[in-house]
Symmetry: C2
Subunit: 646 residues, 2 copies
């Protein structure tokens, strides 16, 4: 049993007539598109014409939707674009759009992907929505739910998914061997039939296990030959296979560093082996020393991705894409944008977000992340030597800035086997929203949310308004009651859930706040680790000085006394107290907004969200009191407003 | 494969002659005793006479050992006592004792037990020596290793073991059902044949699972009948079964409180059901609210056992024994003695220690615990109305003080499937030592250690001296680099390993230190939680006042400024710095002492201990620096000696 999410209309023959002009109507992806149109109640008794466009500007994935005298027209160049257009048509009409003016939509990002961190035993690393629907008991699962998932993904324009965890171990190594390859092929064909390419995470160390090779050195002829043979095998089985995502030299995973090679040498070896077949290697830049001594003040984990990759610009093969996390640390509720965007001109780049709410409430707290992603994407990098239009993050990751052939956006996904797919009913807004944002980063977070609410809960004004308010206030609220001012990491180790101000303070993970009686923060300007200087000007100068550093990142960049007065006019300590009380109060507001919807949203959904809100009410107060007490005990500076601290 | 520990002599026929006078030589326990004598090399070509003593003063477990013109005589009343005497004779001779004067030894404690926290899946709760040797894959294991373990246990005079975890779940519930009862019987007979009674932990909630009962209310007739039937069944299968250990109303386990009954009502219900068969119910007093709000300053976990049990004195059946932890919290490296000893006159009491080093280095650190246990046992309770001799803890738990029929000592054991049984080769000193201490609490920690070293490593003077020094300095060293001055709990949650000063500070476990910029500690005198007042005088007055509270417990009893000057003449903060530097230095000393033994102890043992010491050297510095940094950052008071703080 599973919910239908934003495709929650009854699917049954609707009497519509579909007329095809110029398409190969035997292609599975085309057949599925027509099926969707013939089954959507909103198109009841309509005539839909699907017309081959032969319009170069639409590319392979764009479409034009229009309404000509009551007939709906979908124009596109490819069958794949037809399925995106069909879902979009259905969604638009369901949102009340009349198409009185035709709509031409072309995805901004070539790659629009979801990364599943699913393990073959059915568990999901950082999964908060039940077990995997791709794997269980060390086998691949293909069933009705798989196809339903393909529909969701296609319906918001994602065009790629990586189905297995980037930490590839045990049985997952066999996804590219006889044991599972036929099942991977079947999965791949299923997703292809919805216009979505299937990727695998790859075990860089695989040839080590072959006694005849016993190495993963990217310059070793035997290793090269091993991968050439492996790619030949894979493509002989799955001719349309998309490619691989690789996590190497990270958090205990072997990689080129193990053999004294750089990251480009590692990525290129794989890229050359897969190139003859048109495949792509997506190489993660999440490389840092995870065995740091906490006493060591010189090493700064924030520098790592930049330091390891910046100098390799131009050295990567054309079919390599670097997958770069949005920030320099790891999906905290607030981080600066990584300086690597704006630091490479001749390298394919893709941004990695996380809609799995690892550090943002684990789908037990409401945290609509699209506003945060919008901020990141709009960040002006001041990248030099642009040959295309724009140098914001979204320009760079779309490939526009330097006219790169491959580029895009991806997110670690938030899905699992739970009835509602995403643990929290409202977390589906991130799954929907991220797809829409990949397609069109210019959409506002509000508009995306409104679409999702209307499709999911219908267009009752109170329902739309209240849920919209809840979503839009949720990320700011979470930030308020979390670690303050960009410092991050005040979270329980391992689980990454719940407050633990010193949880990562004396560990090897490179994530320190160094709070003492008077000050907090690691100095990251030129007198400290020099991280601020990695940015292009004027950011480097901006972050260098306390006076010009934005309040919300103050403790990320500077070691500050608690009594420092922020631009807001408040001292840091009072800012901490105030935001933490506010954050918990915001959850009360969200809860009241939801209570008003009793009877207006489906009862089961109401109760599920209620259960999660009850926990969030409790847990946001836990955050509030632990963080405030931590700082109060450390400073003994009382709250100006005399509220209770413990 | 497993080591022979302190019975590491080659067992083969030695030409000895055993003459039995008055015993039933067909009893398995007697046969085993004779087998041990005939196999011990030290008795080569000797004549041993085993003589029925008919000496009431020896009781059922005492014996007299003597040497008459080169013949060894074992006198005892029972076959069971003969096996204790036989092992003791072998051990004494192996330690160089000549028995020129006869030795009469009678165990001080009626119950001398080990508690295994082994789960049926083979895991061990708080086990640090590999998997269980009693269970694997949800089945009972009986093999050569089981018998070897029975020998170890008998050889130091333990007379009871509880083989399964006190948290009884899943398959373990079937240990008293058809599924496993025959295997339990076989195990029971095996241990009986070494003079050791086998006990089980019992699931108090078991009748809830029976749909015809669906309750565990101790006053419910159906529940009573269910247990009567169950006991009848168990004893029909295992007539000599010893009894049960019960953890109820603790850490999520159901119990009488669930039904509004008190602990005596719960224990007595079971005791009455088992009484017809001569069985015993051992009832744990580890009952406290493990869902405390950390903001709540009034509830004091330290009071819990006393508050729940003190008023029930005299209400327990004669075949109930209360099993009471040594301290009011939970096996910390330093706690006061629980005030419950000295607070009950008409109740059978047994002390529970833990040689599984849950909070004392998990058998990766050396921590010889016998000196600590000696301190606890020698604590003067000033118990009132004594009718026997003595009112120290050891007097009370031996049953002497109030002439109780049942009493004794037990420890959560430190054994598992590792080659060396106890994870750390030197941790076997606790397994050996605790047995000896149960038998004779007057033995010194040094003498026990010397025996164990001689039996295990031989009597080379350097070996004995160095290991003795290592053992004797190990608990004080661990205390020095751990949480200071009795405050406890500065440890990583869940794992209970490694420093985490605030790890339990904002949690529900009732274990708070409340450290702020100026002070640390929870006030437990009459101005605070009143815990100090639970002791008999003069302890109540002593702990009431800072001036008379011993330094080592200062932060357990009082909320103190870091600048307070201790009796040692040092401020608390300087005491913290000094002890933490000292503790890590002590480990360097232990390591040097061990390095001197290369070539003098078996190579494999040398290397195993070396590996653990290498970790302890690193980890004691981690403790030192984290604890010192925590307090330095909180206070910004520098070290008087200018050593580096982080």
């Amino acid at each position: 049993m599973y919910s239908k999410l934003w495709l929650n209309y009854e699917a049954k023959e609707n009497g519509a007539i579909v007329i095809s002009e110029g398409f190969d109507t035997s292609k599975p992806v085309y057949i599925n598109a027509v099926k969707e149109l013939l089954n959507a109640g909103i198109l009841s008794e309509s005539t839909i014409r699907i017309v081959k466009a032969c319009d170069e500007s639409l590319g392979e994935e764009g479409y034009i939707l229009s309404n000509e005298n009551g007939d709906y027209i979908i124009k596109a160049n490819t069958e794949k674009a037809v399925i995106y257009g069909s879902f979009r048509l259905i969604n638009l009409l369901r949102c009340g759009e009349k198409l009185s003016v035709s709509k031409k939509e072309i995805p901004a990002n070539p790659l629009r992907m979801l990364n599943h961190w699913d393990n073959m035993d059915g568990s999901i690393e950082r999964g908060y929505s039940g077990s995997s629907f791709f794997f269980e008991n060390n086998d691949v699962v293909i069933n009705r739910r798989t196809e339903e998932y393909a529909r969701f993904v296609a319906s918001v324009g994602y065009n790629g998914i990586v189905i297995n965890n980037v930490n590839v171990k045990q049985a997952a190594c066999d996804l590219i061997n006889d044991r599972f390859i036929d099942k991977v092929k079947a999965l791949s064909e299923l997703f292809d039939s919805y216009g979505v390419k299937l990727y695998l995470s790859l075990n860089y160390a695989a040839p080590i296990e072959d006694p005849a090779v016993a190495s993963a050195d990217p310059l070793d002829e035997k290793v090269i030959a091993w991968w050439e043979e492996k790619m030949k095998y894979i493509y002989s089985k799955i001719p349309g296979f998309a490619g691989f995502l690789v996590k190497a030299d990270s958090e205990g995973r072997p990689g080129p560093f193990t053999y004294g090679r750089n990251q480009a040498e590692g990525a290129n070896m794989l890229a050359r082996a897969i190139k003859p077949y048109g495949g792509v290697i997506i190489w993660r830049c999440f490389v840092y020393n995870c065995r740091q001594d906490w006493r060591d003040l010189k090493t700064d984990r924030a520098r790592a991705a930049y330091d390891y990759f910046h100098n390799l610009d131009g050295l990567f093969e054309e079919n390599v894409v670097l997958q770069i996390k949005n920030g320099p640390m790891d999906f905290q509720v607030r981080e600066p944008v990584t300086p690597l965007f704006g630091g490479m001109e001749k390298t394919n780049q893709m941004i990695e977000f996380q809609i799995a709410q690892e550090y943002t409430g684990q789908q037990r707290h409401i945290c609509y992340l699209i506003p945060w992603f919008k901020e990141v994407l709009s960040f002006e990098t001041y990248a030099k030597n642009a040959i295309g239009n724009g140098t914001t993050v979204k320009d760079i990751v779309s490939g526009r800035t330097y006219k790169r052939p491959m580029a895009g956006m991806c997110a670690v996904t938030n899905t699992g086997n739970d009835y509602n797919w995403t643990g929290h009913d409202l977390a589906a807004a991130n799954l929907y929203g991220f797809g829409r944002l990949c397609f069109d980063p210019e959409l506002s977070a509000e508009d995306i949310a409104k679409e999702w609410i209307a499709l999911t809960f219908g267009s009752n004004e109170k329902v739309v308004n209240n849920i919209l308010k809840m979503l839009m206030m949720s990320w700011p609220a979470y930030e308020k009651y979390n670690a303050p001012l960009g410092i991050g990491w005040m979270v329980a180790p391992h689980e990454h859930y719940g407050p633990d101000p010193d949880g990562y303070e004396y560990s090897m993970w490179g994530t320190y706040h160094k709070a003492n009686h008077e000050t907090i923060g690691l100095e990251r300007n030129s007198t400290g680790t020099g991280y601020a200087g990695l940015y292009n000007e004027p950011w480097a100068s901006c972050y260098e000085k306390v006076e010009t550093t934005p309040d919300e990142l103050m403790l990320f960049f500077h070691k500050m006394p608690y009594t420092h007065v922020l631009k807001s006019g408040k001292t840091i300590i009072q800012h901490i107290y105030d935001t933490h009380f506010e954050g918990a109060e915001d959850v009360e507001v969200m809860n009241s907004l939801w209570q008003e919807l009793k009877g207006l949203v489906p009862e089961d959904s109401f109760e599920r969200v209620n259960g999660r809100l009850e926990h969030q009410l409790y847990h946001s107060k836990e955050w509030r009191d632990v963080i405030n007490s931590y700082f109060y005990r450390k400073t003994l500076i009382p709250d100006e407003k005399g509220r209770e601290l413990y």
